[in-house]
Symmetry: C2
Subunit: 744 residues, 2 copies
């Protein structure tokens, strides 16, 4: 079967099925194997079987040569045991939670119910910090977010005692939990159950069998969305292309009840807008490759480590590499969580605390078009869709280099069944030809010094595909103590249909001003709409212990006194310790620059500097939306680039625990406005990495990766350069490599 | 002999020699081989013999294993011929220039004379553009800057006719030419010819045999420096360390006449400041390596290309790789110059112009301490020291990865003798495990799509060691059309001696304010002084031809009309074409952001967008100095982050042609204030990359590299993603690598 029509055929079958019987139960994927793991071997259409689907639908290779290396057998998670207080729930534990809850009163009623999140309830921080390998684990608990009928519940399940505590009934803040993959899946079919929707689609000149509809979170804009979980569906023609995102049925928005999956409202503002064609939209290699393309002339290149990687992953989750160690786990909401980050100090030979926990707390992606089909597109990808749930299996050799190791995610389906997301995270050593440090003496000194050290780093990577967009998140550890958090944007644009085929056709008003397109004409009838991306990181730095302070080192011009110096001015550094949260609300400015240190004032270096790490912003962007605009109220955590809050276990998600349709009453901005003390406290720093994206034709039909990053950099943390004693490369250490392996 | 005392012993010998006979002639290194090349085989102490010195003083290896691969023979440049209109002067041509000038009236007088620069006088741009391979080269000319007695002359020498044109006699702008390596070398000895200087040094408790003095450009602060070329010398104790920069004889500044090398003035404001100790200052591997250091636990890692690199360097200077081609040459002032940059368009199969010429035009490095020994430290490393002259031979396997190719620089000595700076530039393909583009379909679409393309780039690298500091400059070419210019800072800090051994000892005033240190206490008695780095790039973009316009695409908030939308606001892009230079003077702002496009309005894409490239600033910093402060007047080219000027062959050096002691009357800021038309003209964009550097203990005794960059990114230049058809990695293409080569 032609692959590009696969989706449409699935829709045809399913739509037919829906006519016979439409049920809204969420317990459709019962565990069918003895391990209690979701069984994907029957090529099930379950959205949870991502990696298996891929295997079953493996595209044909252009090059028929066989891979010489046998694939290693996938890790069997059915007997995994937790080894560390922060280890994620295992398959056995998730099944136990499901078993405990199946006999709980809440779930014994006939009301439909679904588990929107089943994750480890992390032990209290002090218990985790005092835990050492060999000690018994603190009691294992699960944090469960469930919907029962119209209510959301947060439950804590004690795995050994079986006790279930209801945290709040119902929870009082606005908003709903992260969608389940199952309901996102069901929403894709929902429009086809509405005769009106079908009629409207057909009236746009598209066959129903060629249509694919996608669930777009609705945001929150007032009463219309009140007291009902709603979602909007946007439909595309998938005729002639796998890249249906480029063929929007523009202006058609279908409002759906997310609980019942019933169509509530159909709006079509675009009957006069043609559906863009499929020409030039293909991006799959096997359908594109040509021998004339110059970019194929690159010879193979690879990062090689003849003696193997230098890191180990102990007990499934504890990564040890060079001078670093940290706990790494996949998370359905945050993607990956890095905890208990410690670095070895070459002077004291001790391992010192740097960060208790770091992760992507929330994303905010507002599109910049106020029209009916676009105004609501203001996504919060973590809290609405699950940044980890959307992280697909990484592609070896391409998503990560050959020397990478992979880690699977173990998550729970809406019915509580555990499932495995294979190869969700990769870990690899990176040598990019960069220089760790160097110095050559100039010939005038007469000293024959040429000292250079290569830079080798360790990268932890995941890639989330939230619908059309792909986010690549890297945490990169340098031997000099620096941690770089990097976000790469790729994937496919969310585009808008337009009658225009050429910029010259755009209407002008009397003054000659062009009609506002809200973006760039990328191809005939396609506008790439302007949008922003904000990725807000939670960084619970613990520099040499939990009690830290945030210091703004402001750089400012100082004029000299008359006669003091031939210089009229210089720049000086003024240190201000943040007393309360308001002092930690930071807007960056080129002409009023500062450094931002997290210090431990109780611990100083030999010469008396407080030990510290600094947050080093690099290229970023700030939201220009009105603070009273509903999306900006919900995304108010982007109102500053940096915030500092006192550690509070319940303040993890910058857009609120329940982000979906939230009103902005539970955001980082609200918490921070309480203006609590933050001096010499256990503090959390929040950093927002921003991107403005004005699309250009090069982003069509798929976008070259654009990246930005920020650093956590040791600042008077070590007594001296911690890689002073690092070794240079020697020829005799390097691998002997032969031609490609095929000939073997 | 213990290497760390080598310098001091050299000084002892030379100082003794100076007592017998001190001459200031600059013609001390006569060519002694038949090729007319400076002969370094006698282990000469000439500062021009940089790479040979290194070979003769090769440090002993900790690991005695022998390199298995024989070193390729170095390129013999004696018979090089120019192949391209932009090829640098060859050895033969430089000798010819010297020969022509030796009979010129200017140099026949007894007045001392020196050549401060002998480089190719590039042909007129239109001649270069119209030239094609196989055509005869345009007439070869040399541009010569010479000092004869107290006067500076610019001469154009026609190599075929032997005609010499004096451009200006004497040149009317302020300032002096770039120092020669020979005079920098002689200045290091100058203090020892002064009995007063020697007495002062000895009074600080240092043996003269343990002292090393370095030439620091004086800046310009008014009458004192008028009508005389002066330089300041700062001295260090090199007792017990090769890292003498950490042992300043603080407060001692020796003013020297740069023409006569005579000491003019000695100021010592630091008799009470101890010289910091040598403990912990060592950084050379063979003196440091220990088996207990954890950073040695990294297994070897290498970028491998079993079928060899994918690029070629044709005719010594024309680099061709993937979809790129450009001309590459070392330059004594700019470091490297990249010209005639063209990219292949996969749609049209044509090679299209992107940039006529790009290079580092100037650097500005002001230190932030107004006291007598520090106020003048406001370096302009290109115009004062020669960014290329200070670029030492790169160290294979460490400065550049194993798969790199190297290019030598051929420069002229002060007497006109050509000399070779080996391995000054490297070119390599870089695979860092990054992703060119990707998209995975979410399981809800049912499409089994996992398309990922690895990112492979081409890097051109040089590293200049301007005294203590090391600048790594990379030009990185991506197959998606993006060019990244990246500057890495490493090397050794310029530090200040202090009586303080601990931060607790710092004096406080009545209000409890600490005495201003102007930096950070890095170790006992050592302050790392706050400073900035600005690197200003000349970017003569020619997007599809010479006539281009600069467009500021301003992103601004637009409030919606009442009732227009549930949204209150959105961000819109407003295009403003710069009419004159003032419109192209750009200060960056987070809250008033813009994109900066260089477009060809005569050439549009299929859908009507003008073809363009955008300058994408990333992390950077702005100078906070008073615009009336003398160093900021001279460095006024950093007053904006972006400037746009009409192409003018004479406007190349942002700090002026004669930067040394310049008054700021010939800077980019002065040219730009003429406010010339820049719409639809041949325009040049200038971008300044800035760094604020507040040192920290990790920078001691040598600094881990800190990098920043900016991008030139195609924006509606291509019809679509130009790497759409790029191939993924396949296992069978990758190398088969064995263990390390030693065992063989």
């Amino acid at each position: 079967m032609d692959q590009k029509n696969l989706l449409c055929v699935i829709f045809l079958i399913v739509t037919a099925g829906l006519i016979i019987s439409f049920t809204s139960t969420n317990f459709s994927h019962a565990p069918s194997s003895t391990t209690g793991l979701l069984d994907c071997t029957d090529s099930s259409s379950s959205p949870l079987c991502a990696s298996r689907n891929f295997l079953f639908n493996k595209p044909k290779r252009l090059t028929p040569k066989k891979d010489p290396k046998p694939k290693p057998k996938n890790h069997d998670h059915s007997s995994d045991k937790p080894n560390h207080p922060l280890d994620p729930l295992t398959v056995v534990e998730i099944n136990k939670v499901r078993s405990i809850l199946s006999s709980h009163a809440l779930f014994s009623s006939r009301a439909p119910h679904a588990f929107h999140s089943i994750v480890l309830e992390e032990p209290e921080k002090n218990l985790v910090i005092s835990w050492e390998k060999g000690n018994p684990l603190p009691p294992r608990k699960a944090s469960v977010i469930a919907r029962v009928g119209p209510n959301t519940h947060v439950l804590i399940v004690d795995l050994s005692s079986g006790r279930v505590d209801l945290e709040d009934t119902p929870v009082r803040v606005s908003g709903y939990p992260m969608m389940t993959l199952e309901e996102m899946n069901e929403v894709t079919f929902a429009p086809f159950s509405s005769a009106d929707a079908n009629r409207t689609i057909v009236s746009r000149g598209v066959n129903l069998t060629d249509v694919s509809c996608f669930p777009l979170s609705s945001g929150w804009y007032g009463k219309k969305e009140e007291n009902k979980r709603v979602i909007k569906s946007q439909c595309y023609s998938c005729q002639g292309t796998a890249n249906f995102y480029m063929r929007p049925i523009e202006g058609l928005t279908i409002l759906i009840d997310l609980d019942t999956k019933q169509v509530i409202e159909i709006v079509d503002t675009g009957p006069t807008i043609p559906i863009p064609g499929s020409t030039n939209t293909e991006y799959r290699f096997q359908n594109l490759a040509t021998t004339t393309d110059k970019t194929r002339l690159l010879n193979p290149i690879s990062i090689e480590q003849p003696r193997g990687p230098s890191f180990v992953i102990e007990d499934n989750h504890l990564v040890k590499w060079a001078n670093w160690e940290f706990h790494l786990k996949p998370d359905p909401r945050a993607g990956v969580v890095i905890s208990r980050v410690k670095v070895h100090d070459p002077d004291t030979q001790q391992t010192r605390d740097v960060m208790y926990r770091g992760f992507v707390s929330e994303l905010f992606v507002p599109y910049m078009d106020p029209s009916d089909a676009w105004y609501f597109k203001t996504y919060m990808d973590a809290g609405e869709y699950g940044f980890g749930l959307q992280a697909m299996p990484l592609v070896p050799l391409n998503d990560c280099p050959r020397n990478a190791a992979y880690m699977d995610g173990v998550f729970a389906a809406a019915d509580g069944t555990p499932f495995v997301r294979e190869n969700m995270v990769c870990v690899f050593e990176r040598y990019a030809g960069d220089i760790g440090w160097r110095h050559s003496e100039s010939p005038i000194s007469g000293l024959p010094i040429r000292e250079v050290r290569p830079k080798v780093t360790l990268v932890v990577r995941m890639a989330a595909s939230v619908g059309n967009y792909d986010y690549i998140v890297d945490y990169e550890f340098q031997t000099d103590g620096l941690i770089k958090a990097k976000v790469g944007l790729s994937g496919i644009l969310m585009v808008k249909g337009t009658p225009y085929q050429n910029k010259n056709h755009i209407k002008k008003d009397k003054e000659g001003n062009e009609e506002e397109l809200h973006g760039t004409l990328l191809s005939e009838n396609i506008i790439g709409v302007i949008h922003d991306h904000y990725v807000t990181f939670y960084l619970d730095l613990d520099v040499d212990g939990t009690d830290n302070s945030f210091v703004k080192v402001n750089l400012k011009r100082q004029e000299t006194e008359p006669g003091e110096s031939p210089r009229k001015s210089y720049m000086k550094a003024v240190r201000n310790i943040a007393k309360t949260e308001k002092d930690g609300q930071i807007k960056l400015s080129m002409y009023d620059p500062s450094e931002f240190h997290v210090i431990n004032s109780a611990k100083t270096t030999r010469v008396g500097n407080p030990t510290g790490y600094k947050i080093v912003p690099r290229a970023t962007a700030a939201s220009l939306l009105d603070h009273d605009d509903p999306p900006q109220k919900r995304g108010a955590f982007t109102n500053n680039q940096i915030w500092v809050t006192p550690y509070n276990k319940s303040e993890q998600w910058a857009g609120g625990l329940f982000t979906y349709q939230s009103h902005g009453d539970d955001t980082l901005a609200v918490w921070s406005d309480r203006d609590r003390d933050i001096e010499n406290k256990d503090i959390v720093v929040w950093y927002t990495l921003g991107f403005h994206h004005v699309p250009c034709q090069e982003d069509f039909p798929i976008m070259p990766t654009v990246s930005s990053s920020f650093d956590l950099k040791p600042t008077n943390f070590f007594e001296r350069n911690p890689i002073l004693k690092a070794a240079p490369n020697f020829e005799h250490d390097l691998p002997v490599c032969g031609a490609e392996s095929v000939s073997a």
